[in-house]
């Protein structure tokens, strides 16, 4: 088999207890995501989509089963190792951008490189290069509040790329954008997926995003309902 999987989920389950009630947010999920694949996670709210997304990002721990990233079982990692993984291997993109409001676009993009131990000058230079590559070369010193929603998401994408991760996790990246801006962001992400060989996992409702992806995973009641080719 030449399917080179970068993410592998093995009988993954996550149970919560909310107000005395037992909730199976994930109830036995098996999935392999290939290197350079563009995968969409689709499902109604409460389907376990977000929980699955957080599991892959090392933000949540499984009740049973395991999450393998690059051949490492991340549920076995300690807080330091998880922070390292989040810092170097995974880039996050959120629905509401989540930029640090007191920092400029360039400083926002440089922040992950600071955590990764790059020198301030190198980080700032790299941030400028990344912002140029997402079409924001003229906006380096703008604060997030001085940027449009689409521009803020571009800054967030540049930030996600700051430490050259293998995986980009995008949680409803077009959810707060109008149709035209959303399409531009999808094109940008799709382009990065193709040119850089980045593995892109996106939780989304956006039909445009779903159509662009290689595979679509439909979630329902904490299980994979079906997997379709995009």
């Amino acid at each position: 088999m030449n399917f080179d999987s970068v993410i592998e989920l093995k009988s993954l389950a996550r149970h919560y207890e909310v107000g005395g009630e037992y909730v199976k947010a994930l109830d036995g999920v098996d999935l392999k995501i290939g290197r350079g694949e563009y995968l969409s996670l689709v499902g109604p709210s409460g389907s376990g989509k977000t929980t699955l997304f957080n599991m892959i990002g090392g933000l949540d721990r499984p009740t049973t089963g395991s999450v393998w990233i690059d051949g490492v079982d991340i549920s076995k990692l300690d807080a330091y190792e998880l922070a390292w993984l989040r810092c170097r291997r995974i880039g996050y993109i959120f629905q509401n951008f989540n930029l640090i409001t007191v920092l400029t676009a360039q400083e926002n993009v440089a922040l992950p490189t600071v955590f990764a131990g790059l020198s301030r000058d190198d980080g700032i230079a790299k941030a400028a290069k990344l912002l140029r590559s997402v079409g924001l070369g003229e906006r380096l010193n703008h604060k997030p509040t001085q940027l449009s929603a689409g521009q803020q998401q571009r800054v967030a994408i540049a930030r996600a790329l700051a430490n050259d991760p293998a995986i980009i996790l995008a949680d409803e990246p077009t959810g707060n954008l109008d149709l035209k801006t959303g399409t531009e962001i999808i094109d940008l992400l799709h382009g990065l997926n193709k040119t850089r060989g980045l593995t892109l996992v996106a939780a989304t409702h956006d039909t445009k995003m779903i159509t662009a992806s290689d595979r679509v995973v439909w979630m329902r009641d904490g299980r994979i309902e079906k997997i379709e080719r995009g």
Binding site: W84, C87, I100, V102, L103, V114, A116
Partner: protein
């Protein structure tokens, strides 16, 4: 930390720069915190300075004057009140930035980096509060004692003694501000990134 485990760096100067940005951004609340420290501290400085002035005055043969001991209790209460006030303000600040803290954790920040960020802020606030505290405290001490001891009494005090008094006031301010911020900083560092990102203001 060994290299296989990977290193996550965040230097003091990075924390310093971010903390200054936060202080500027939330200027009103920062100023209130600084005012709170400087008020408590100016009372403290006034008291110690008045005592020093009286002693100097006495040595110069001006007569026997003392500071009412009950004031020392009052100053302890004033300082405690400002500590509680800062803790409250910093806790609000944690919840104001909850999403940013969650984001930082997502992009690789460790608990200790979040703590460092808040403590640097506390030290800066404490230092500024201490500075204004000794300024107002000196003015108040001169205004209350000047009519009996003469306003030039401050020039007659042993300069080393004056310097020690000022230095200990500023150190006390930084110490109290840090103490007040420890619990909010701990709370911030222990935030679950998933919960923090979901939080809506």
């Amino acid at each position: 930390m060994s290299h296989e485990r990977g290193n996550v760096h965040f230097s003091f100067s990075d924390a310093f720069k971010l903390a200054i940005s936060y202080l500027e951004r939330r200027r009103d609340r920062s100023l209130l915190n600084i005012a709170s420290i400087s008020l408590g501290l100016s009372f403290f400085t006034t008291l110690l300075l008045t005592d020093t002035f009286y002693q100097t005055f006495m040595v110069m043969g001006g007569g026997n004057l003392t500071v009412d001991q009950t004031y020392y209790w009052l100053v302890i209460i004033a300082l405690a009140v400002s500590v509680v006030g800062i803790t409250n303000a910093m806790l609000i600040s944690v919840y104001e930035r909850i999403r940013e803290i969650g984001t930082m954790k997502c992009i690789g920040a460790l608990d200790k980096h979040i703590i460092l960020l808040f403590l640097v802020e506390a030290v800066l606030q404490g230092a500024l509060g201490g500075f204004f505290g000794i300024l107002f405290g000196t003015l108040a001490a001169l205004l209350t004692t000047g009519s009996t001891t003469g306003f030039d009494i401050i020039l007659k005090v042993n300069p080393m003694k004056l310097l020690t008094l000022y230095a200990s006031s500023v150190i006390l301010a930084i110490f109290l501000s840090t103490i007040a911020t420890m619990y909010p900083a701990y709370r911030a560092s222990k935030l679950d990134p998933v919960e923090a990102l979901r939080y809506e203001l």
